[in-house]
Structures are given as C-alpha cells and as structure tokens.
Symmetry: D2
Subunit: 334 residues, 4 copies
C-alpha cells in the first residue's frame, strides 16, 4: 500500500482524486490538505461535498509546512493553483515523494514560458528538466521513470489526443494551422464564487481568444502552431473539442484511420469511433477520451470528448499513477 496526500482536496478535481484513490486497492489516503488560509481547513471533505458522506469523511488539514506531511507519504497529488504547486512540489520531491501535479507549474520545460503566460518567475529549472508531461497515452515510458509528473491541462489533453496521431504520422499540411474549437463545462473554472460562474450569468460564449494559457501548452507539446478557441458552455462538466485540419495532398481516409488505430488501438482509455461522432454524455463521469473523425477532400475534422475533471485532470493523474507504479492502467478508473 502506498500512502498518499492530496493537496487542494476541496476543489472539484480534488474530490475526484479522493473518490478514485479511496477505492484504489494499492493506495491509502493518508491525509487531505488545503491551504492553511482556506476557510475550508478543518472541515470534513464530506461537509463540503456531501456526495462523499459515508464514503470519504476525512478532514481537510491545513498545510503550511510540507515537511509535516512529506515523511508520512509516498505519493502526493497537487490539485492546487499554479503558484502553489510551484512552491510546494520541490519540498515533497526532496523528501522522496512521487508528485503528480495537476496545475500548469511544471508542464513546459522552459522557465520563460511561466514568465510570459503565468505571470511568475519559475525558480525550479532543475525540476522543470526532470518533470515528465503526463499525457498518458503518449508518455508511458517517461512516466514509468518519473518522480514529478505534470498532468496536462483539460483542453490540451483533448487537443493533443486529437492531433498527435496525425502529426506523428506526418499527415498534416503545414501550409495551414489546425483550428481547434473547444467548449468546456463550468467546473473547468474551479470551485469559487465569481460573477462569471454565477448560475444566471453563465451562457455559451467564446473567451480567451488567441490568449488562453492552454494555447502555448498545446503548441509546445505538439511542436506546431495551432489556432485554439475555447468556449464556456452552460453545463457543469465535460469538454468537446472540434479540430479542423488540412491534410497533405493524397492523404486518404484510410491513412487517417490507420494513424489513429496505430496510436490508440492498445490504449484502454481512448475510444475510437469507427463511425459517427462522440457526444459529451458518453464520457461525463468516466475516464475516457472518445474520438471520432471525418475526411472530405483535403480536410479532416476530428471530434474529441472527455470529462474535463477526469481525463482532463484527475483520472489522467490516477492513470499516470497506475503507469508509474506498474498497476493495471485502468485500476480503479472503470
């Protein structure tokens, strides 16, 4: 049994982590923690999220010094803000813990990226160099050896799972940038009270056009420019991403199908659709990314759906855990 700590357990991703890890046969939840300043410190997780009453009734302990927890646990999940993850991870890593960070703090191995897109100066280049990006289907080998796994963002997971098979197979026409239109549920904005999240104010709209922080994350890991336009939908959970690309002349539907099959045929948490397109409800509450595509002439449209809190955050983190420690990849997820 591995002892584990979840930091930021009171948020939506934290709740999902607690649910998965509570039923994982090789994991013990040693402690749940929140910022020492949080009004939730001291409460039970199930007071904030009554769906967990009788399931996970552990208290949310205030975390001020990582050392108080680091000796007692083997594994740490950070479901915290970027700056918080940046500050906390090194202490847990130095103590020998394996760290799964769900924030953006270690996703791109270039410190300038944080200055430019996250507004803080990254202090831990050595850990940036060692961090492995936890896009599970594409980084299995790296994850197995890593001490610090930077779990991808929700949009980047959907976008990269859609595009990587085409890029790796060399099928895309460089003359034109892929256009990624994605719509996310409101939980992607986290658990907080803002006018933007207020029930009567939420309405389908595009936001962060040309400037969303997930854009450079996608570009950095795909190694190709894209146009990424996120939208907020009036539903709590899920992401649907529709990606439109131009293929190289002569590329056929069969070439595309072969590329997707080669990429995902042995990947249990990506489900390819041979016909039809996936709908959001097929993945809400589930750890899958479902992908469909259609080709006409030189154009291809790829549609991917996932639960932003699961394959876009918590279940992918547990998937990375399973890979890292040699458990079955879908353990406790399905």
């Amino acid at each position: 049994m591995l002892n584990t700590l979840i930091v930021g357990a009171s948020g939506y991703a934290g709740v999902e982590l607690a649910t998965y890890l509570n039923r994982h046969p090789h994991m013990t939840i040693t402690a749940l923690a929140v910022s020492a300043q949080s009004p939730d410190a001291g409460k039970l997780l199930s007071d904030l999220h009554p769906q967990l009453k009788g399931v996970v009734d552990l208290p949310l302990q205030p975390l001020s010094d990582p050392a108080e927890f680091a000796d007692k646990v083997d594994v740490v999940f950070l479901a915290t803000a970027h700056e918080v993850s940046h500050d906390l991870a090194p202490a847990f890593l130095a103590a020998g813990c394996v760290v799964f960070d769900l924030s953006g703090a270690f996703r791109v191995n270039d410190a300038d990226f944080y200055t430019q897109y996250y507004g803080f100066t990254h202090q831990h280049q050595a850990w940036l160099d060692k961090a492995v990006y936890g896009l599970a289907e594409w980084q299995r080998d790296g994850i197995k050896e890593a001490q610090l796994i930077a779990v991808p963002g929700c949009y980047p997971t959907a976008a990269q799972l859609s595009l990587k098979p085409l890029i790796e197979a060399g099928l895309l026409n460089d003359a034109q940038w892929p256009v990624i239109n994605a719509t996310s549920g409101v939980s992607g904005a986290g658990r907080k009270a803002t006018m933007n999240n207020s029930f009567c104010e939420v309405s389908l709209h595009a936001y962060g056009i040309f400037h969303h922080r997930h854009h450079p994350e996608i570009v950095a890991h795909l190694g190709t420019p894209v146009i990424f336009t996120p939208h907020l939908g009036s539903f709590p959970r899920g992401i649907l991403a529709t990606t439109t690309c131009r293929l190289k002349p002569g590329v056929t539907q069969d070439d595309v199908a072969a590329a997707f099959k080669a990429a995902y045929d042995d990947k249990p948490l990506v489900r390819l659709y041979e016909k039809g397109m996936p709908a959001l409800k097929s993945v809400v509450g589930l750890p899958f990314c479902d992908i469909g595509f259609a080709v006409q002439g030189e154009h291809i449209i790829v549609v991917a759906v996932e639960d932003n809190l699961l394959k876009g955050a918590s279940s992918q983190a547990v998937q990375c855990l399973n890979i890292r420690f040699g458990f079955p990849e879908t353990e406790s997820l399905i």
Copy 2:
C-alpha cells in the same frame, strides 16, 4: 409622459423594469441609479446586460442623495435591498413622487415585523400605515389611491393568488394548515457572486424551512397560518407553487371552480386552467400567473406558476403603475 427613476437598475428585476418602462408609451426613463458604492456606477446598463445594447443604453448613475433625482421625476421604482428601500423611500415620497418598492421594506404594516424577520428597526411607521400592498388582482382600489405601493415578494404572489379565492369564499377547513411547496429559479437570489449561486453548486434543494421571510408575509396578508417550504431549482427563472389544502366538508369541485372564476375572470394577468396544470415554461418571460387546481374528496391541490422576476416582481410593479395611473392594466406587459 411621466418621468421615472429606477433605483437598483443593475439587478435582474431592475433590468426587467427598464425593459418594460422603455417601451411604455406614457413613461420616460429619466434616470437609472445604483448605490454610490456600487462598482457598476458609471457603467451603461447595457454593458452589464448586453441584451439591452441598442435598446436601453442609459448610464447607471451613482445615487447618494435622493434629492438630486426627486425633483426631476414623478415615479420611482426601488429595486433595492430592504434596508436601502427603507432609507430611500421617505425622501422620494416627501418630494411627492409615487414610489413602487420591490423590496420587503413596506409590505407589512407592523414595524415589529421588520425587527423580527428582517433584522432592522423600522423608522417609518407613518409610511407603513399608508403603504398599499401591491398584490394587483386583490388591491386595485387601494393601489389607485396610493403614493407608496409595496410590491409583494415572488413566493407570496404565487401563494396568495393560489389561496385567496379559497379563503375569501370560506372554503378551507381551519383544522388543517395549507401546505405550500414552491420551487424558484436562481435569479430569485439576486445578481451576485456567492458559492450558493455558483453554477456547479446549484442543485434542487429545500431551504429556509419554517424560517423564510416570505412566510410571515404570506401569513400576514392571508390572515391564516400556512406551512411554506421553498426550494431552489436549477433553472434561472420562474416559480412553481403547489399548495395542498383541506376543504370544508361538502365543498365540491364546482364550488372551488366558482371561487376561482369569481376572483380572476376579469383579471387579464391571471390565467385559470379549466383542465390540466400549468407548466413553468408557459410563464417564463411573461407577466402572467397561471393557475390550475384539482379536487378529490376533502382535499384540493392548487398549482400556480409565474416568472419570479416578472409577476413576482417587475411586471407586477408595472401592473400596479398601470392601475395607479389609469393606464390599461396590461399596457406594455403583453
């Protein structure tokens, strides 16, 4: 043309008032105002509520001294918090304005009511004595003469329109209290950022059981005890109230039908259903209260639906305005 001021115009009820008054042939919106401390002061109403872009683009003026506005207007609508209405109304009234107050500040002619249920000491007993309760279908005569009209709360409107015909006709069995179960949309909580209103947190639940402030308002005006249980539903607008009562022995379905017909046959904004029960969508965005009922043995169930922001607030205020000034009762409402 009557000049009018809307105070608290940035809230959901304020927006509806502005929309109605903007198209009213006898009204001019002279000014929109918000609290001088509001972060919205100085913005255009249509910046906050873009649905009004090109329709009502007036600025939200900061209101610190009512005297700045009182001389310029004939009519004032207060879509403000209870304490704010309490403080502002007397100055406008003293200047001769006719005031329609959408808050609870003048709804019950007993100052103790405010100490007990609203947590403030009422300073204006003289105005409490003069205020007319704006339950339009039942107070036409009073409204015609009033200078201060206290527009009823959203739940009390639905509850009283359901029960008054039965009570006035003497059909209810006093041995048993009417049971009012009502479900309201989230806009009833006002335009603000709270965890309770946060999109992912909203979920059907009962609240304020035995203690909601609309309970004593209902009891005071019906003159009979009731059990009132409000619920929050996961939809933006509307109220559905289901009221269960015991009839006096011998009262028939026909007696009940006659009582409702007598009460509402000539009332254009209450629509009786001869068969079937009204659904919420039949009134959302509309100024009606729709009412259906069913009798079996000694029991009756009455179902009423209304838009909480309209018949439960703004359209009823304009309906009162129309009655007060002798305009057609549905002017600019339908």
Copy 3:
C-alpha cells in the same frame, strides 16, 4: 459466480444494472435481452449507450421464449414494462431462477390492485403471495428468503424511507394525511420518444395529481392514507421528495431524531443529515437516499433525495441481490 440475465437491458435502468453487475465480483452477465419486437434487438448495448463502449459490449438478444435463457442463469433482472414482467416472471421462477422485478407487476399482494391501477388482470396470485417487496432497509429478512423480489418504484422508495420511521414509531397525528410533494427527473419516464419527453417541451410541472400509480403503492405499504403530488423537473436524473406531516401533540425534535436514527443508523445506503437538508446533486449517480428533517411545533418536514434510476430502481435491485445472497450490502454499489 452467479449467472445472470437482464431483460429490458436497453432502457435507462437496464444500463445501470449492466454497469453494476459487470463490476460485481460474484456475478457474471450471461446475457442481455430485449423484447423480440424491439428495434434494438441484435445491437450491442454499447451502440445504444456509448458510455459503455469497451465496458459492456454485449449484444441485446431478442427474447421470445424465457426457456431459452432460464436454464443458463441463476438470477434474472426484469427491467421491463409491468405487463411484460407479469408475463415473463413465472417462467423464470418455475425454472428456479431468483427474480428481481423492477416493474410494478408484483409490488402489491392484491390482484385487484392491478385491475384498478394498471389496467390488466393479474394471473399469478400465487406469486403475488410469495413476492417480497424490496424496500431494502425495511425488508431485509424477507428478502433473504425470497425467490421473487418486487423492487419498489422510484417515488415510493423516497416516500416510504421518509415516512416509515415516523409511522413505525407512532409519531404521526392521524387527523391529517401526510403531504408528499416530489419532483423527478425525466429519465423516470423511460427511454422513448414522446412529445412529453421532447427536450424543448420539458418544463417543471405537476402531473398525475391524485391519480399516479405510485400513490396506491405507497398507501398499500405504509398502511396509511397520504396525498402524493408528483412533478416533472427539467433535469435528467434524481428525485427530491418533500413530505409535510403533523406530529402527535408532545412529540419533540428529539423523538423524531431518535426514530430516524433507530431506523437507519446501521443502514449504509440511507444517509441521515443531522443539520441542513440534502440537495439532489449529492445522490445523482450514487446508490444513496439522503434524508433531512425539521420540526416546528406540531409539524415536521422531511426531505429525501435519491437517484430515481439507482436507489429508485437499479441500485436498490442490486442491494436486494446483495442481501439475498449474503454479499456485503454495498458490494459494487459504492
């Protein structure tokens, strides 16, 4: 391992049964079946419900003769229409199968009940006599011995779990009937294309007033008259039931709390709230019924929430299975 057949597997309750039984360590899904006339016969369950792709990909076999399946299975779940269950169950029972029927066909041990409320003549009085009503928290002993378990309806589960502790403890005032107001999600109407279920037509409303078939089921099992008013809400899943009762003079909040505690303290799938009231989202997707209550004077209000497809149907069926065969009561449910 017990071999099991799910009849009516293509419906919403069937899908949930398949999901639970697929992960149950003591159960094998031997076959899924639908009516031989169904257009879904021959399809994969995961073609109709892609969330099960890669999880339960079994075909939906056409069932015309129960004998084709009865020899191969130990346990049968009937997630079928009332008449279909009525016709199929005896053949499976005669073959020695244990049958869990989710329809209303065997819920009340009085054949007249079916003539009056279901519109068909019941042919199997002997099985009506032997059937045990599967209200799991209240029928543990009976379920352990039964061959035919009639799983309660969704509304009756919420209503009875709310009222039985009060009735059993003798706390209710007989002079007044309990008033049950309940709101259900649209999945309660089953998986079919009707105008009533059509997305743009669904809107909160009351229906079946004084005449819903769950009313006599509740009355029969509680042994007391009630007023039951169901509502349809514009959400897919879940039931919230608010029950208002009059207590005997002198009954206190503590008496009520003691009654609920005595009833449910050792029941893992009913969660009592010591303070506050449960919200629907706390149980959607989960096998719990959550219950809160408040007392004032002689009145009590009880609020219960459950997932209509789970505790109101499929998870309660599996809970009954667990009780029947001596598995842990929550096996595969939490």
Copy 4:
C-alpha cells in the same frame, strides 16, 4: 391593415411569428393553418402552446386547398417543411399574395440544388428566378420589390452575417477556407418527438459533418467555399457560430473593424461589439444578431450569436416584411 395567414403555425417558428404579428400595428392574423393531416388541426394554438393563452387563441385550421385562404389574405408566412412550401407557395403567389417562406424551398436559384441536397425535384424554376433571399441586412433593395422572399436558414444567417463584410471588402485570403463551427439549440430540429430530441438523449455533439444542408446554402450565397461544422447543444434556443479565417497579408485589425462598421453601422438588428465577444443569452428571445471579432497576425476569429427561431427564422421574416412594406425595420420586433 394587411391580412395575413401563417401556415405551419403549430411549430416553434410559427409560434414566434404569431406572437410578433399579433402585436404588429399594421397586420391582422386572418388565419392560422396546419396540414390537413396534422393531429393539431382544429386545436387552438394556445392549447398547444399555453404561453399564448389569452394572447393568441386562434384555431389551427386544416389546410388542404390554398385557394380557401388565398383570397382573404395579402401576406402568407410559410413555416412549413421544404416540400410543403414548394408545393404551396405557387398557389398563393398566383393569387397575388406576398409570400415569406421560412423553409429551404426557394433559397437557391438553381433547381439542381434541390435534387442534390433536398432530395426532391424542384418544379418551379420561374419562382426560383424571382425569389429574393431574405438576408435582411444584405438584400434590402431586392426585398422591397419581391413577391417571394426566401428567409435564410438559421446557421446560414449567422455564418453569412459573420463573413460577408470580410468577403465584400476583399480581406480574406483565398488560400484557406473559412472554418465555421456553430452550436445550435434543440428547437432547431423542430417540434417533434424523436429519440434524438428526447430530453435524456440530448448532449453536445457534432453532426452532419461535411453534409449539412445549410453548407451549400452558405456556399451558394457567399460565393466561396467554407468548412461548416454544426453541433447540437443541450439548450432549447440560440446559435453561436465561431468562424476562423485567414486574412490577406497586411490586413489589419482596423481594416476589419472598418469593414464591419461599413456593413452594419446603420443596421439596427446587427449589433457589433467593439470589445469582448457576445454570449448566447444576450440574444435569446430577441431579434438581434450580435457579432464580435478578434485579429492576431493573419488570422481572424468572428463570433456571432442569434436566436435560431428569431433572427434565424421568424424575426428575420418579420424584418423582411417590414422592409417589404415600408414599415420601420424593427416594428414589433424590439
């Protein structure tokens, strides 16, 4: 006063037409009609759509022979299926009526278009030649003279209002096709009972990829190829269209702003956003199309929102009526 007939009045677009025309000062609704085979024939419009109770209580007359109505009316609105409009329009036109057709039957002046995309052989080339496409902001002059106005589809309205200013100003780079991603509410599928429209089945998904009938309509009227990907969203009304294009080298944000301003500055029902992007709720229930855009490097993203039943159907039809008869363009719409 012009006498008018609405055919297909029982559908969602028909209801909106009835609402607008009922309050139009220059129009009289002479009759509402539905197909003689419709189960709704003989009912009141307000029986089917109770929101109109007391507002428009006219009966839905069965229409078998257009001649029964043609002599009594000046104006006909066809809110009917494509084939029905195709069959009915010529008779009304021959009788001298002005016809506003909301179907696709006369939108493209090439009979082959109907064979290929609508699956029927168009019989009325002469009327195809005379029909004017009712994209109101771009066809004012033609509409003023027309006897047959083919009101555009919902998606084509949003797509063309987004793209025409850029195309007309010659700003787009021909090397790359515009990519239009649009999401529509469920009412776009019409008022009918299908599994696809069933409440619990509706979920965000892409459909009709590369093959939606609105694609060739857009291409025909823009005169340029596009990629159009429609999605169904889980909300009743509204369309949001996000269009991504490549600009010619050297085209600036100012050039784009000037093109949009030139196109829409004097158009009351298109609202340009100088900053920010429009949200769906700003237009639901309203006759506007709201448009925002952003430029970065050679790429532009345009976001347009409209109510699919209003600017995408009924309010645009009434806007065309207003233009055709010289009424103020927004008469009865705002």
